[in-house]
Symmetry: C2
Subunit: 378 residues, 2 copies
Amino acid sequence: MLWQNRSMVKIGVIGGGQLARMMVPPAVALGFDLCVLAETEGSSAAIAATMVGDYNQLQVVRDFAKTVDVVTFDHEHVPLEILQTLVAEGVEIHPSPKALAFAQNKLAMRRRLAELNLPMPIWAEINSPAELQEFLDANGGEVILKTPIGGYDGKGVRVIRAVEEADDWFAFAPLLAEEKVSFTRELAQLSARSSTGEFRSWPLVQTVQVDGVCAEVIAPAPNATPKTLEYAVEIARGVAEGLGVTGVLAVEMFETTDGRLLINELAMRPHNSGHFSIEGSVTSQFEQHLRAVAGLPLGSTDLTDESAVMVNLLGVDETNDFVTHYRHVMQLHPHAKIHTYGKAARKGRKMGHVTVVASESGWALAQARAAAEVLLRG
Amino acid sequence: MLWQNRSMVKIGVIGGGQLARMMVPPAVALGFDLCVLAETEGSSAAIAATMVGDYNQLQVVRDFAKTVDVVTFDHEHVPLEILQTLVAEGVEIHPSPKALAFAQNKLAMRRRLAELNLPMPIWAEINSPAELQEFLDANGGEVILKTPIGGYDGKGVRVIRAVEEADDWFAFAPLLAEEKVSFTRELAQLSARSSTGEFRSWPLVQTVQVDGVCAEVIAPAPNATPKTLEYAVEIARGVAEGLGVTGVLAVEMFETTDGRLLINELAMRPHNSGHFSIEGSVTSQFEQHLRAVAGLPLGSTDLTDESAVMVNLLGVDETNDFVTHYRHVMQLHPHAKIHTYGKAARKGRKMGHVTVVASESGWALAQARAAAEVLLRG
């Protein structure tokens, strides 16, 4: 909403995950009333949960929206029809369902990015085995196939070398096929665009994915050329403005062997690639998201030191509970900033993260990795 | 409590003021269950309030203590007898009532500091006009008189030039008289001591008081000599260990014209002089306090940059509501970190603060002051 010069603003967040949880500290500092519609009792964001209910039900979301001044998201899974109905009823939602449609549907996203002439891998809509065969033949016999809706953290994504490997997916067509990009590394450009149109970007970061899940983030991206840094911001601005994004936007990109940047994925909310900003930037992505959706001016995105490194705490197994290793990790790593999401343990689950901010990225990386190892394995 | 290697620790805080409120962000990050016993509904720390009640009633505090693993404080006003009773009943309290007694009673504090040979102004216990006259005569005819119990932010403190000026106070004797120190500036040494005995100190800061209330804090204290820095830490350690403090300890000191440090006041909890540490230090005083009372190792107290400046937002009048100036201040000062305490406006009341962290203290001070001015006066 456009900031109303009132003394209290109620910001509603749909979804009670770790992103909503990490909005709590800036909301407390700025005195915003953060209200979370959580899926379950005892969610990650339980401290701010004001309602528990199913975001797939119009009436639940409508009742929640009535209690707040503006609605935003912890995830992009709320059905578009529900959001469109509420917008028609006068509810202010950021990002808008128009923008969110591109985050929900990867085919719609690719089509729109193509209209905007933004750089991305070769892609095609796939409706049949024949179309997939044709795309395979044209792209070196090995391609990426994605379900356009509902994928995350490597889910809904397959490397395909033969049409048969996608047999069970054609029922969900249209699918999205993409060339398998020969990349040297993955980068992410975090930015924010407020509901007034103001745009700010953080320094470009390098992300390290393991099995399709973000494992580490290094800010700023090491050895990025001024041209790359500038181009990454230009891409982010093109996406934010072209898709009408409000709030935080993460653009995940491949850097190719020949130095090009290609857009891989988008997220229209605070994102794992931006967790470093809690300690590593003057304004964290969570504070910035709240400012942006409230229509307030955005804060400085300067780094607080030369380098910030974030390492995810991915669950080792069901018994994994890194809080029990606090004594050990705090003794060894007094500079490690530990974040736990309050989630039950599960193999591969994002259960928390560690950030180390330092003048030297190698030291920060070593500290953050070592601290994460202690937290996960004692 | 000694850290139990368990997955959840419940930390109880008596008092729902801004100090309890500012413990929320580190509790969220570390996954501690923060439970606040608030005086009223809608307190500053309402988001973490699990009980509302009068901390002067044993049964209220006892009921609250039963819901948590360890008890600590937002303020030092809980009656000692209540805390002593609960300790006898097995409740773990940090700081202990033994230590807290010295924070509650300034005469007891002076006596103990004298036993420890720690530096302080000349002082005397005053029970009669004759004793006050004697102290006046011995100390230049102008002294400071304090009620030993219940004073804060300039309340319970008077500059006295004639015995008659204290006529209405003798009923509350014994009183504490102190020489009026000729000081060049006021300093504060923030430190923490965990329940395991570990001790860490932050860089010495300069505090600027206006009408007995903290207005500004500059970290680190400009132009402090290595000897002064070392001595200040030695004093803080002497107090922490000598008084058996657990948790954060703030030692407010005078720096005299001849370069001595004299202990003015003590606080055994996070303190206004340490708010800079939220952004200005690797570990904030609020996180450190939680670690200390939970018996966990303490975090690094390194500054995150060369300088951090905090300016208090002291209410201008009853209609003062600086949240309405957010648009203006955020436009002008993208580096300002704004903290609001969610309290009703009142002239002179601490309603929030602004911190600016920078490589240059002059710039940080100018930015923080200007941002505070916009927040208070539009």
